[in-house]
Amino acid sequence: MTLEWIGDVLLIVVILPVVVYLLFGVFTAANGIVPSVERIARAARAGSADLDAVPLLLTTQDQVAKTIQAAANYGGSLDVILDDAEGA
């Protein structure tokens, strides 16, 4: 009988607080991750939205090629019109 009471006291005074402490630690840690992960998700969505303009690079690529082609044409004409420098 005495041993049973000792077991009860151990259960209530030692085991129960330890279990509660450990579980509370796990619960707090899991809850602490949630806002961080949500921020990561928001940042990833925002980053993805920022990249919506990437297809415009294709237009830039096309325009750059045309501009360089026009410059090359002008350069060719200038090469014909202007005399070369001495010794060139």
């Binding site: 259960l11 899991a30 998700a41 980053g47 420098a85």
Partner: protein, 205 residues
């Protein structure tokens, strides 16, 4: 049932209740994490998908721009000569001559002639208009754009009595080079006003 047994049952129930409460809370939190991670992974996948062609496109743009730079540098050097080309660049963008021309490594060794003292101010002004180009934004003097509101032509309108817009005969831009008819002497002209060249007969008439 003995009292000790009842207390034990109550204690065990309390422990199980605590376990249930906290584990349920943890499960809910983990589910939120899983949902958010799914969103994040989806968005990261979109980012990867959208940035996939960027490297090739940028490489192509850079290749075209490199070709353009080589073309313009080559043309400038061919027409003006390496020394005058460096001087012209340094006249437009002071200090830029130190970087030299990419295809002409010797250009970094050339002491840039002071082209700004040889060419007329109008020639350089015309050339500086090119600083409106985005590439000129990095000029040491900052982006110098034309400001039509404060142009010299606007100031002339303040003289309604017919002030001459410009002289009847202006000297032509000097011919430069070792064989030029008028030799430029830096010791004579540096710091002083420009010597005016004689107007030709066609300009006087």
């Amino acid at each position: 049932m003995p009292a000790a047994g009842v207390v034990m049952i109550i204690a065990v129930v309390l422990i199980v209740a605590a376990i249930v409460v906290y584990l349920v809370g943890t499960i809910v939190a983990l589910r939120k994490i899983t949902t958010s991670l799914d969103d994040a992974i989806g968005a990261v996948g979109e980012i990867l998908q959208k940035t996939e062609p960027v490297a090739d496109v940028v490489a192509d743009i850079n290749a075209n721009l490199d070709a353009g730079v080589d073309l313009l540098e080559g043309l400038l050097v061919k027409k003006a000569g390496l020394t005058d080309a460096v001087g012209l660049i340094d006249g437009l963008y002071p200090g830029a001559a130190a970087a030299g021309l990419r295809k002409f490594p010797k250009s970094t060794l050339i002491k840039a002639p002071r082209i700004a003292e040889v060419y007329t101010r109008g020639t350089l002004t015309l050339a500086r208009l090119g600083r409106e180009a985005p590439i000129a934004a990095a000029s040491p003097n900052g982006p110098a754009l034309r400001n039509p509101a404060y142009g010299s032509s606007a100031a002339r309108t303040l003289y309604p009595d017919g002030r001459a817009v410009h002289a009847k005969a202006l000297p032509r831009s000097p011919v430069i080079g070792t064989n030029s008819p008028v030799q430029y002497d830096p010791d004579e002209e540096v710091g002083g006003p420009r010597r005016r060249m004689p107007a030709t007969s066609s300009e006087r008439s």
